[in-house]
């Protein structure tokens, strides 16, 4: 550590280590009720975490939730972006994750053909 700039740079780098403990503006929510798990929600979850780690994405909270009700369409994955309604994707597989993350989470364009629902207040 030579200068105070070095310290600030290190701070930026390491903040991601504790990001989980702060409020993030983006959320990915994976349905992990029994129905979801039976169809493969655990693999989808792993794929999401891999993708985030590969792309070094910041400011995202990944949460799990119980059965959302649309069991027929599991695995369900919800994406919440700041200021946008909560979008639900259905019949998600691990292979779909890179596209959903790239197109929706990063570029803000929902992958329309996979969307099964949208929460409206």
């Amino acid at each position: 550590m030579k200068t105070i700039e070095d310290l600030k740079r290190l701070r930026q780098q390491v903040q991601s280590q504790t990001r989980v403990r702060q409020e993030c503006s983006k959320q990915i929510i994976v349905g992990m009720g029994t129905c979801g798990i039976a169809v493969g929600a655990r693999d989808v979850m792993s794929a999401i975490l891999d993708e985030i780690s590969k792309r070094k994405l910041e400011d995202i909270t990944v949460r799990q939730t119980g059965c959302m009700g649309m069991c027929e369409k599991e695995v369900l994955v919800d994406i919440v972006l700041p200021g946008e309604p909560r979008i639900t994707y259905g019949r998600v597989t691990a292979a779909d994750i890179p596209k959903i993350i790239a197109q929706h989470v990063i570029n803000g364009q929902p992958v329309k053909e996979m969307v099964v629902g949208k929460f409206t207040e």
Binding site: T3, R11, V20
Partner: protein
Amino acid sequence: MEHYRAHVLICAGTGCISSGSKKVEAALRAQLAQKGLDKEIKIVETGCHGFCEMGPLVIIYPEGVFYVRVQETDVIDIVEEHLYKGRIVKRLLFKEEGALEGIPSYKDIDFYKKQKRIVLANCGHLDPEEINEYIATGGYEALGKALTTMKPDEVIDEVKKSGLRGRGGGGFPSGVKWGFTRKTPGAKKYVICNADEGDPGAFMDRSVLEGDPHRVLEGMAICGYAIGADEGYLYVRAEYPLAIKRLRIAIKQAEDLGLIGDNIFDTGFNFHLKIKEGAGAFVCGEETALMASIEGQRGVPRSRPPFPATSGLWGKPTNINNVETFANVPQIITQGADWYASIGTEHSTGTKVFALTGRINHTGLAEVPMGITMREIIYDIGGGIQGGKKFKAVQIGGPSGGCLPEELLDMSVDYDSLIKVGAMMGSGGLVVMDETTCMVDISKFFLSFTQAESCGKCTPCREGTKRMLEILTRITEGQGKEGDIELLEILAKNIKQTALCGLGQTAPNPVLSTLRYFRDEYVAHIREKRCPAGACTGLTQYKITEVCKGCGLCVKVCPVVAICGEKKAVHSIDQDKCIKCGACMAKCPFKAITKG
């Protein structure tokens, strides 16, 4: 880089470890591995949260859910319900007395709502053995700011302006003390952190050292820069092995990053740190005895002047401050003296960490702004008296302090107000007492502590406290005589004025304070041979009243066969055999046995 979707923060302060948090952690690791969740969920050991009564404590992020009294057997629910399915385990949430619903977030619990955590900001929220987590919160930027943008005198002015006063108990303005040391000419100077924390029941410093050690190191380094010292010692009592371990790790990690050592931030400022372990003497918390101990001599005080600022460790100018004092410094530099001075009262700025102990519902650690009332600390934060009993007094300042009775509960808690009423802030240990506490017994307890710890160098302390203790002991055993109270007061006054160091000078305080507010208890002990609180076993008698139904249960539990009586007839206790254990009274289903 792995991305963890959840962090499970387990409190690994000494308190929670002794309640079993390590077992909880082991069970958690095993279960996460078994379910294949260990790559997604990170387990973090943190320092003390402060809510010690409710430990072991676990916080799970991102939700920020706060679980209390977590046992090994609860782990399976936490993993399967919360971490797997996202369902909060409601039965592990904290519930206020009488409430039906638990409170998920610690921020909504009264214990935390009334606190203002500056010193304890990171405790319980980061891994103290991981310097990166401290840096992520902005750690060491205060040191950087001081070294690169401020002159030493400017740093001292800032600390002066903040109004920070010594948190070890003396309450001397820290900036002024730093100024004295700076002014003393000399190339070699020292910074010492007093982490001896000898007051029985106090654990504020321990928790800061175990939970956020870097904050203290940073404060010391800033002090070193301000006064012109290149070396610092942390004098930590040996009874704090976990604090010592975490400090060693912290120093090593800071050295590896160049934040402690030579040429910090390329400014030419050198600062090295060493740890010196204490060896169990309360008197070594006194600054001159402490320095003698570091020098390898017997821990015995010497007279002052000269003060450490002029001639301290190895005769060099030295600045000694308490752990909590140093822990306040980084934020003062980062956020400014005006911000700090806006908290608390005009002459007692900032916050104070208190250790809440005794007959209180929420024992633990709380940091509050100066000027808060004792009532708010005890009832709003502390949750009131255990068992719904009546408040009697609160001892503040440990063996050097005094007690505050009920009529003073609404006074402002600050340095000067406390001195006015015959108490003192001390290091921040609060012992709450209820109607079953005998105030004579309490003063005897504190005095026996200081008597045992007296180093023996000066006559007033060595002989005086011994005689005071003899008198108090006689009183509690029913051997008090007329004139004892007056003799205690004369002795106390003399010892206070003539003892060599703070130990002796303040040893009589608990006695004087209890005499001031609870004189009638002393009188009852001496004249009536009676202990109003029923605590002094020498003056207490257990008696069976007419309510007795002769069921014989008490006879069975008496360890010394002191009770006799016919079946279905009123029984009686042989006072000569009775050892006053109270087992009979606890067993009696008819409340037929009285104590007093």
